[in-house]
Subunit: 462 residues, 2 copies
């Protein structure tokens, strides 16, 4: 067991044996491990917003890895239906050939490198044979059996493909995945180009694609791969032409590029042990090759959201802004900085929510100016912790108001991974929150002008 | 009990008392009722594809009305979190004002007029008060409690709104719904304009919107409604300006315009009684004002998909085509008719799947010509029955090949309501199937030219 961060672990901590023991984990281990992580983040796991977080996180991990307990056979066995092939003539159709493709299946999986969920758009095609077809919804269910595990895109594509080939014995299967992984805040910061925030950086996704095929799809003489691609193209999906198989595994997870040997991690080894115990509770083997660095990486991710006692408003912010030398417009002109990216951690689920913040403000006549990097610092400061979006919006508004004093309006727009990957699975949902202080509160026209400015920037892709 | 259609109900039918008895329904009633409906459709409920249909339909109805058994209090009680309002200054934010909006929540509900599922995009906004906010995912969960009932858009909006107002006591709630109801085949046929198939007709949706608001959103002096609308506009959602409330109920369901007094229905009264028994099994009251015509309308819908013994290929099709006087191009020119709309009924779930069919073909030198209305008739004939998409595609290809003889390629693209509204809930998924006969089977270039033609038509919105 590594060095304890004294003070974070008090006498009330239950005596849990994390680490190399290797025995069967006791019931409740995930919840206990999450409590250890919360303490490691400098949080009080008894405060209202966090009280049920261990339970919620444990539930999410269990649901997110339920695929280990599911059998493809159970799903497929009652859903193979006899369909005749062609009555006569040369060709392919029905249960004897004739491509069947289900496109745009939304799935979620957990990244085996860092334990964060990643988003998948899955396209499955197969060519029936033996006069049998599979109920269409089962293609999605079988894919989900393998998505609900700790995964990596390439292996996921292979496993779905092999399972379908083995269970329905068609002439061939083609599985194509497009995957999106949330960016790590470190990378988000490094890539930040305040002048030209690109959509992909704003939304904080790393994208990759993977595919796998069997049978007739692997035959050079067959045009089936081209036809599969053409059917996807109707829906606006373009596969890379090198997506037809192969076994090279890119390290697409952004955590792979982090240096895990830094000193800061040694002091977190009790947290790393806690994460390893979560893996064991999920019947995973933390010593499996692909998982060796995972607990470190997950802790590294969490540590971005450590509680800070530093009071940005009272200590840091005004000093930081003292060097800004810029013409200050007083009076009634609305200034705005739009699409400032952020990534915060939902305190109820320990899952990220991320998006953009728009800030509108009036300059006071005797106050400092504030520029885009200054506002981005404020956004970054308040998002890098366990948060809820309503509070984040309020805190950013208050901080800006503290500096400028005349009136601030903040609109935050975010995708909540907890809304997408957990129980309710509302993939397209997006949350907007608003806070107004000072002049904006009394001036409906000012509010509406600022909202109009955001609307225009959205329309032009800014 | 009404007139029996003799011959459809043999001695093996279980003696089920449908109709006015009013007693508590016995276990298994929905399954039995579905078997009655299948016989009424001229189907053998023991054939492979239908054997488990009664079980699947019963499960779907039970899951689709589970909201009657759910309590909003159970969902909300542990998810109200303390959030401070503004520390100082004039304004709204956090737990004291400051708009919170969750946009683009995908839901499904069952139409109380015809028992078909309808699709909902739900947007919920509220203004916190009393220094409390609700966990964001609960807005979606509460909405779903009311969606999972027999519904009508306006009432659904009112019920979600009232439930949120009562359970979280905020300063106000705004609920806006955009709803899509599948078109009835009768209406689909009437509106068919072969020359200019519009997207909305092809996709077979009737659209409406509804909204409801409470508290500060109803105050004339408040700009909050405008701000709610502006936040939706960022996501490309435009609410009608008359969507701010009101209680007028449009009869949006296309079944409402059907004439229910026609003679054809009298002969189906045993089916109507079966549907009424399904309603009772779901703890609904078939004599509730809004449900009075529902069993009739659902039966009317189903009867569009009655099994026909008429053999289109051998009896009707070539005669029908004899009057077509059109220049016939022989040889190697690919002819194509794209985006022919269809609506079929999935035999596994008794739920519609609908979309478009693309047909490519070579004319034989001594054969009849076939025009777009002729092809549309073929598509219509094979889709208006209990089907699976693979078989539909094959049958259309075979029918066209029977007439033309030289080579046919059919691509069908469909949304399956069963994939969207039932268990797997893959809202964006779409299925494509392909069949090729004759010349196309040997000619990869012909296949690829035809697919390219579809791709172009999709790109130009044709």
């Amino acid at each position: 067991m590594g060095a304890l961060e004294e003070g974070h672990f008090d006498a009330e901590s239950p005596a849990i044996a994390f680490g190399g023991g290797g025995g069967a984990p006791a019931a409740g281990t995930i919840e206990d491990a999450v409590r250890v992580l919360l303490k490691g983040l400098g949080e009080d796991s008894d405060r209202e917003g966090l009280r049920k977080t261990p339970m919620r996180v444990a539930k999410a991990f269990r649901e997110g890895t339920i695929g280990y307990k599911q059998k493809v056979k159970d799903i497929v066995q009652d859903a193979l239906f006899h369909e005749a092939g062609l009555d006569n003539g040369v060709g392919q159709a029905g249960g004897s050939g004739g491509l069947v493709v289900v496109r745009d299946i939304d799935l979620f999986s957990y990244c085996e490198s860092c334990l964060l969920p990643f988003s998948i758009q899955c396209h499955v095609g197969y060519v029936p044979s033996g006069r049998r077809v599979l109920g269409l919804s089962k293609l999605s269910r079988v894919a989900d059996v393998y998505a609900k595990r700790l995964q990596e895109p390439k292996r996921l594509a292979h496993e779905i493909c092999a399972a379908l080939q083995n269970s329905i014995a068609p002439a061939g299967v083609f599985v194509a995945l497009q995957c999106w992984h949330i960016q790590f805040p470190e990378a988000l910061k490094l890539n930040l180009n305040p002048g030209h925030p690109s959509r992909s950086i704003m939304q904080g996704w790393v994208r990759t694609s993977a595919s796998s095929s069997t049978g007739v799809f692997t035959e050079k003489s067959s045009s089936l791969c081209e036809e599969f691609r053409a059917l996807l193209k109707f829906r606006g999906v373009s596969l890379d032409s090198n997506d037809s198989g192969g076994s090279s595994i890119h390290s697409w997870c952004p955590s792979k590029s982090l240096d895990l040997r830094s000193d800061s991690l040694a002091s977190h080894s009790i947290l790393v042990d806690a994460v390893a115990s979560i893996l064991r509770s999920l019947d995973e083997d933390p010593s499996r090759k692909e998982l060796v660095g995972t607990p470190y990486r997950y802790v590294r991710w969490l540590m971005n959201f450590r509680r800070s006692n530093f009071d940005l408003m009272k200590n840091g912010l005004t000093n930081q802004l003292e060097n800004v030398d810029r013409y200050i417009r007083g009076g009634n002109v609305i200034n705005s900085e739009l699409n400032l990216p952020f990534c915060a951690q939902c305190e109820h689920h320990l899952l990220p929510f991320h998006g953009v913040v728009h800030i509108g403000f009036f300059y006071g006549t005797e106050r400092k100016a504030i520029d885009r990097p200054g506002l981005q610092s404020i956004v970054h400061f308040y998002s890098c912790k366990l948060q809820v979006q309503e509070r984040l919006t309020k805190q950013i508004a208050e901080a800006v108001h503290f500096v400028l004093g005349n009136g601030v309006m903040v609109v935050a727009e975010a995708n909540h991974i907890c809304m997408i990957s957990r129980g309710v699975e509302k993939v397209g949902s997006n949350t907007a929150t608003m806070a107004v202080i000072g002049q904006f509160a009394m001036d409906a026209t000012a509010k509406s002008s600022f909202l109009e400015a955001i609307s225009k920037s959205t329309a032009t892709g800014g």
